[in-house]
């Protein structure tokens, strides 16, 4: 009945994607996340006018940093959809999951595991 999407996706709620600090994104990787994505309103349809545009910029920023340190900027993404777009939400979740699987686990995690071993 309901669309299924991968189980490894966990949602952190914020009032607006404009509230997502680059810090949160980087911190997540440090804590072992393999990927992070933001889901915001459609562009031009932000509940707070421009939060999602700010978020998009921060996503770009985070990507650059991740690229520089060799984790892979591709692991961060931004999606825009409207609240009635359940199927699209599932589609994006699946897409993200596939992308991350393709890239393999977060290298930090591997490094830390090695260290621990």
């Amino acid at each position: 009945m309901r669309l299924q999407y991968p189980t490894n996706i966990k949602v952190v709620r914020v009032p607006c994607t404009g509230k997502v600090d680059v810090l949160y994104i980087l911190h997540s990787f440090e804590k072992g996340a393999d990927g992070v994505y933001l889901v915001g309103c459609l562009e031009g349809g932000c509940h707070y006018n421009s939060g999602n545009l700010k978020a998009r910029k921060r996503v770009e920023q985070a990507r650059k940093i991740l690229d520089t340190i060799g984790i892979g900027g591709e692991r961060v993404r931004m999606y825009n959809l409207s609240s009635s777009d359940g199927p699209l939400f599932a589609k994006y979740a699946t897409e993200m999951d596939e992308k991350i699987r393709e890239m393999g686990p977060n290298p930090i995690k591997l490094a830390k595991k090695k260290k621990a071993a």
Partner: protein, 1014 residues
Amino acid sequence: MSGLESNQTTIRGSVMIAGGGVGGMQAAIDLADSGFKVHMVQKDSSIGGTMVMLDKTFPTGDCSMCMISPKMVEVGRHPDIKLHTLAEVVSIDGGPGNYRVRVKLQPRYVDAEKCTGCGICEEKCPKKVTSEYEQGLTVRKAIYSLYPQALPNTRAIDRDNCIYFQKGKCKACEKFCPSDAIIWDDSEQDIELNVGAVILSPGLERYDAGMRQELGYGRWPNVVSSIQFERILSASGPFMGEVMRPGDHKHPEKIAWIQCVGSRDSHNANPWCSSVCCMYTTKQAVIAKEHDASIQPTIFYMDIRAFGKDFDKYVNRAKEEYAVRYQRAMISTVREEPGTGNLILRYAEPDGKLVDETFDMVVLSIGFQPHKEAVAFAKTFGIELNEHRFPKTDPFVPVETTRPGIYATGIYQGPKDIPETVMQGSAVAGRAMALLSEARGSETTVIEPPAIKDVKDEEPRIGVFVCHCGINIASVVDIETVVNHAKTLPHVVYAGNNLFTCAQDSQEQMKAIIKEHGINRVVVAACSPKTHEAIFMDTIEECGVNKYLFEMANIRNQDSWVHSATPEVATAKAGELVQGAVARAASLSPLDEKKIPVIQRGLVIGGGVAGMNAALGLADQGFEVVLVEKEADLGGLATRLTATIEGADIKTYLNDLIEKVAGHPKIQVLTDALVTGFTGFKGNFTTEVIVGTGMYERKIEHGVVILATGANEYVPTEYLYGQNQNVMTQIELAERIEQSGAEDLNQVVMIQCIGSRNEGNPNCSRVCCQSAVKNALRIKKLRPEANVYILYRDMRTYGLMEDYYMEARGLGILFFPYDPDNPPAAESAENGVVVSFQDQMTGRQLKVRADVLALSAGMTPEDTEELANILKLARNAEGFFVEAHVKLRPVDMATEGIFICGTAHSPKLISESVSQALAAASRATTILSKTQLTLSAVTAEVEQDRCASCLICVRSCPYGVPRINEDGVSEIDAALCHGCGICACECPAKAIELNWYKDDQIICKIDALLEGAV
């Protein structure tokens, strides 16, 4: 204000609203927020009306459901709005101020108190019924809710289709209902409501496309109605947003829309224009193309009626960016190509050539018409109807019916789109408030705030409540495991489960547990915080726990529903989500909702029709108003007009209005006055004004602002205007006829769209088509021998004004469409003008010698650049003010406490300006009626020591809230902050935190969710 009958003893402080569409909802919210009790009587099992069926809406492309559901939640949760669904009014007596209304309630067969909306019954019910909500494209069950987000969200049994009721066997729903909510012996009930005023908002019905069998609806499967197409486009619709043909689920490429189906047809259907279909068609074509770039849309039309704010821009974009093809030609018949399911449309090209074109799909743009029961409905309420069975209303007070104290709004009053419906929803509320102002607050619920425990220094004591949600969660997630896991988490002193946590009895239980265990923070693991958070927050507040010490884990929408195939993983994930929630709950601190006093005085800027009506709207409710007009006299543009198209006398109306305003004890009129300074926030503004020739300075303190600065007639530079005295604008022509009649007019030519719909001003000025028809009719009536020629691009006599267009043709006024690429030309002649143009149908080049050439000059907004700067308000490229939200907040400005009305917002007729003025007054009353306002606690705060005064927050805030204060550091006014948190993230010094979403409160949740990942 309609006078109250003297023998009426008590004025009631309550209002009944019949019809729960967006119009009714807006009226309900405004009234309830202003201290009135509302009874909403809704015929179907859920409120929502037409809007809940739509996918996106023009011209913004916003999702319709996203826009309407917050309003629905507001209506559903408001303590002063009582919903009566499956209900209809059967009789009414009494008078304004005190009506007794008898309402008949159809049995629901489901106990609304017990039903939690789990939907299990629906899943088990064996009987499939065509879904009216999905427009017959799919099925629902015999026990059902109209649509997934229905409100109330209890199910209802459709007796006519239920196997048990029809054959005496089944009862599957009862067997599976976990809440024991089915009542087989439910029966019809009569209730009586005693209210002060009545608002009618039952909407209209959609024209049945099946009436036009030549167009193939119901015959050829790939011919659909526009409302079906909305469902097809909708992501929650039968095809989940994929554009498919119902016939064979193939993806159509060529889609044709046929306009005016059921409208503008006095012979076979309805004579009026339905006003919305040109635009929704454009929207559908654009959205379809967005869904699938290979789609080629074609729209067959007569006139594109894009007369609203920014509508023509939208149409232009559709043409240029989305390659939507507009073909001016009507279709006589839709034939199906045997074998392929494709449809063959024949149309006439401009030169007469007949072309057969094959399409994959055809959409019929159906219009609106009064309900079949419109006459009986009007009789029940004792109101009169016009010849088309719409309620009879006055052009100067378009929401008043013929019976005092009974108002009409929304499309019921006449076809209109969502913004105008919302506007009128507020307008009726304003009218009712004025009538009942003395009884304000007499019937509303007073909620005593409970004493809140101080928990600041306490250790967190967290209680976790895990919900089964019937089988919604429990059938996938092992609740026991989740509860046990919760018990092991830090600070958790209690963990338990409920079948339905939101059910009334569970809430009571929860309160007892909170008290018993001394819980000071609560986590509910259940469904979506969007719909349920507020309920739980209220519950914990009732036991003295600060409501911000609460967190939800959504283990249904984010877990059981979407991972039902892997129950074990889902159970584990539920545990993790609870863990995240517990971690965050532990980090929360209590927040106070600030209260600020309200200055119960309004400021109105602009003394035209709109400004004056807004001022009266407030003053009649007893609020003080200061009206600021920059000219020496009141009246605005309307002083130049003589009569409306209906023939109503504008001069008399205006004089009365000015007299009323000038003489009103609560209104202070400042003429020759200019606004020079402005500070403050909603409820507390201070405005500086320089008044009179003496330039006195005045400081006005007030709680709200209503902007009504108006617009002017465009001064043409085209067609010899100003060079030849026989060339004049429509207003000048009307004045001329008023002064010297039409005796000397033998030939009059009118050219439409002067100064509108061009590069400089891409939009339609909305009033000029009707102006032309109005003046032409006037000439013909004064002097039947006169010939009038109207050269137009699209005749935009929308809504019921189509009647006058028809009348004009009947009287022999000639209409010639012209192509903007081949516009008419004019040259001076002795005592007149010679106008040459082409007749498109015959190709003939015509020259007409005219005594008068009337130019239908458009509207240009008043120059408000300075005012906009002072008040920090946004204007669009043309200079009209930009409202907070085009669709849902058409009279609010983005800055709270400021409202807009009249032509300062966009071109509109007097009746529409009045509607919006009443609406502005009503919206303003939601603030002025309170002595103090409660602000949300979720706002940003600056830790001033850390601020580096970099101004980044000042620039990044979408509402311009942060400012650098006297100490040179950033300061955020909690009264102005919307709580988006953008500034907090942008601040390089990390000096800003958003309450309830502080960095550590988010980070600790991330940590908890990722625990064990490395």
